[in-house]
C-alpha cells in the first residue's frame, strides 16, 4: 500500500465506480433484452424479413398472445372430466384439511390454487365450428407440465430416500454420495448422448439386458408410450444430485437427540423416517420441489436431442416450441409471446421460492 496519499475517492464515488461494470452489463444484457422481448411480442416480427428491412414489422398489440393462446369460439365446460374432477376433489380436500387445521397457510394456498387451476384450465375447449389458432401450444404446455409432474416427484422421492440412508459422515457414505452426484456435473449433451444409446433398441444397454432376460426390446425413443418416460428417466438420473445434497444439508439440522429419544420409544428405521425425518424436513422438501419445478419447466436439451419433440409431438416441450417458432419458423413475435408466458410462470414460482427462503432467515 502506498502511504501518504491523502486524496481518495469519497465513499459514494467509490461505490458507483465499483458498481458500474455490473450495472452496465446488467442493463444492457438483461434489463434491456427483457423489455425488448415484450416489445417484440407486440409485433408481427419475422426474423428474416426484419433482418433485411428493419421497418418490416407491424405493431399488432396483443394479437400474438391471442394467436398463441386463444382460438375461435372457445367455450368453457366440463370438457376434461378426469382432470377437472381431480381438481374438484382437490378443492374439497383442501377445504377439509383447512377446516381440521392440518395444513400450514402456505400449503393450503398452494394446494387450493393448483386444484382451482385444474378445474378451470382444462375446461376451455373450442365450441362448434371453432378451433384453437395454435393447435400445438396448449398440448406443448401440457407435455411440459407432465414432464415436470413426473420428474419432480421422481427426483424428490429418490433423493430423499437416498439422503436419509446416507446421513452419516463416514468414508463409505462419502464415496456413495460422490457416485450419485457425479452425473450432475455432466452437460446436457453428454447426458443425451449416453441415454440415446442406452435406450437404442439395437445397440442399447437396456435392450441388451432385456434380450438376455428373454424380453423383447422396447423402442423407447420412438414409441409414443415410452418416449416421455425415457426423457424423464434420463433427467432423474442427471439431476438427482442437487436434491440429494439439499436434503443432506436439511438432515444435518435435525439433532440426533430427537432420534435417540425416539429410539427409546422403539421408533427406528422406517418409523423414525416417517415420524421424525419427514415432519422436520418439510421446509426443505417444499424448497426442493419448487426449485425442481423451476429448473425442469425450462427443459429443452433432453427433448430437442433425444426425441426431437416426437414421436407425434408427445415430448414437445415449451422451450423447444419457442426455439422452433423463433428460429425455424422465423416467427419471433409469436415466439416472444410464448417466452413472456414462460417468464410469468417462472416468475410466480420464483416468488414462492423467495417467500420460502425468507421464512428460513427469520
Amino acid at each position: 500500500m502506498r502511504q501518504g496519499r491523502k486524496s481518495y475517492l469519497s465513499q459514494q464515488q467509490s461505490a458507483w465506480l465499483l458498481l458500474a461494470p455490473f450495472l452496465v452489463t446488467y442493463a444492457l444484457f438483461l434489463v434491456y433484452p427483457f423489455f425488448r422481448g415484450i416489445w417484440i411480442s407486440l409485433h408481427d416480427w419475422n426474423l428474416l424479413a426484419v433482418a433485411f428491412n428493419p421497418d418490416a414489422k407491424d405493431f399488432i398489440g396483443l394479437r400474438n398472445y391471442e394467436r398463441v393462446m386463444w382460438g375461435r369460439n372457445i367455450e368453457w365446460g366440463f370438457a376434461a372430466p378426469l382432470l377437472q374432477g381431480l381438481g374438484l376433489i382437490g378443492l374439497a380436500f383442501t377445504a377439509f384439511l383447512h377446516r381440521t387445521n392440518r395444513l400450514s397457510r402456505f400449503n393450503t394456498i398452494a394446494l387450493g390454487v393448483v386444484s382451482l387451476l385444474l378445474v378451470v384450465l382444462p375446461g376451455f375447449h373450442p365450441g362448434e365450428g371453432g378451433r384453437w389458432y395454435d393447435r400445438r401450444f396448449w398440448p406443448t404446455v401440457g407435455n411440459t407440465v407432465l414432464f415436470v409432474g413426473l420428474t419432480v416427484p421422481g427426483v424428490t422421492i429418490s433423493a430423499l430416500l437416498l439422503a436419509a440412508g446416507m446421513n452419516r459422515e463416514t468414508r463409505a457414505m462419502g464415496i456413495l454420495r460422490t457416485l450419485f452426484f457425479l452425473s450432475q456435473v455432466l452437460s446436457v449433451t453428454v447426458v443425451t448422448l449416453i441415454w440415446q444409446i442406452m435406450f437404442s433398441p439395437r445397440q442399447g444397454l437396456i435392450a441388451n439386458i432385456t434380450e438376455v432376460m428373454g424380453g423383447t426390446p422396447i423402442n423407447w425413443l420412438t414409441d409414443q408410450q415410452f418416449a416421455m418416460a425415457a426423457i424423464v428417466i434420463a433427467t432423474v438420473w442427471w439431476s438427482l444430485g442437487i436434491a440429494m445434497i439439499l436434503f443432506l444439508a436439511g438432515l444435518q439440522d435435525i439433532s440426533s437427540e430427537i432420534y435417540e429419544a425416539a429410539a427409546l420409544d422403539n421408533a427406528r428405521g422406517a418409523r423414525a423416517f416417517w415420524y421424525i425425518t419427514l415432519p422436520n424436513l418439510r421446509r426443505t422438501i417444499t424448497l426442493v420441489v419448487v426449485l425442481q419445478i423451476i429448473l425442469h419447466f425450462q427443459v429443452f436439451g433432453q427433448s430437442h436431442l433425444m426425441t426431437q419433440g416426437g414421436p407425434n409431438d408427445t415430448t414437445q416441450v415449451l422451450v423447444r416450441y419457442i426455439y422452433q417458432t423463433g428460429f425455424r419458423d422465423s416467427e419471433l413475435g409469436r415466439a416472444s409471446a410464448m417466452a413472456v408466458f414462460l417468464f410469468v410462470i417462472m416468475g410466480a414460482f420464483s416468488v414462492i421460492q423467495f417467500i420460502i427462503g425468507r421464512e428460513k432467515d427469520e
Binding site: M1, Y8, Q11, Q12, S14, A15, L17, L18, L19, P21, F22, L23, T25, Y26, F29, L30, V31, Y32, P33, F34, R36, G37, I40, A51, T170, A172, L176, L179, F180, F181, L182, S183, V185, L186, V188, T189, V190, T192, L193, I194, M198, Q203, L205, N208, L240, I242, I245, L295, V319, I322, Y323, G326, L332, S336, A339, L342, F343, M346, G347, S350
Partner: protein
Amino acid sequence: MNRGYYWLVIALSIPAFIWLVPTLWMVSLSFQPNDVLARTTSSTAFGLVPLPFTADNYAALFTFGQTPWWFLNSLIVSLGMTLGVLAVSTTAGYALARLDFPFKRTILVICLVGLMVPEQAVFIPLYTMFADLGWHNSYHALILPRMAVPIGVFLMLQFFRAIPQDIEEAARLDGVGWLRIFWYILLPLARPAMMTLAILTFLYAWNDYLWPLVSAQQREYYTITLGLASIQSNFAQSEGLGRVMASGVIASLPVVILFLIFQRYVVQAMTAGGSKG
C-alpha cells in the same frame, strides 16, 4: 458401526452402481474398436468392460475432426466468462454490502428481480440485439450475457456482509481509500466465496447449450457441448459410435476432474446456484 450399518452400505451400493453404469458404459465404449461396436455393443459384460480394447478413437479425435478446436473454444469461453463474472460480481457485491450511497435499496431490489428472469425468456431479444450489432459467432457473444446474471453479485454480497465491520474501520483511520480496502483487505478474504462462484460459472459456461446453439452458427465457434450435440444425431453412420463416445468423454473430462478435486466447492456452488437462480 454395527451390522445394520454395513447392510445399509451394501444396500446403497446397488443403486450407486446402477447410477454409475451409464457413465461407465460411455467410457468403456469409447475404448472399443468401431467395427466391433457396429456389430455388438455388449462384447464383454454387456460392454461395460472395454474388451477388445483400443485407444484409436482418441487418437482419431486429435488427428481429424473439430473436437480439439471445440474443446479449446469451450476453454476460452468458460475461462473468459469466469473471469468476467468474478470481476463484476466481487466489485458490485462489495459496494452493495459495505458502502453507503443513495438509491442502494432500489438497486438491490432491481437486481433481485433480475434473478427471476430465466435465460429462456430473454434469448430471443438477445439474439436480435447481437445480430444487429453483428456480434454473433464470436467469443464475447458467448460470454457477455451471463455476466449480466445477478446471482454472483448476491453470492458475494452475502459473503461480504458476514465480515465484521472493524476490519475496514482500522484501515479507514489510517486514511486508506475504499478501493484499496476492497483490493487489499476484503478481496483476499473472499477467496473461498470467489472459488465457489468461479466453479459455478465455469460449470455453467462449459455445459450451457441453448445460448451457444442460437449464437454460434459457424462450426468454428461451437463449444464442445454444442459440437457434441451436432455429431450425436447421426453418430452411428458417420463417425462411429466409439469416436462419438470418446468425444463425450473428452467433453466431460474438465468438469469431472474439477468435481473430483474440488468436490466440496462444486457441491457448494451447485447448491448455491440451484437454490438462488
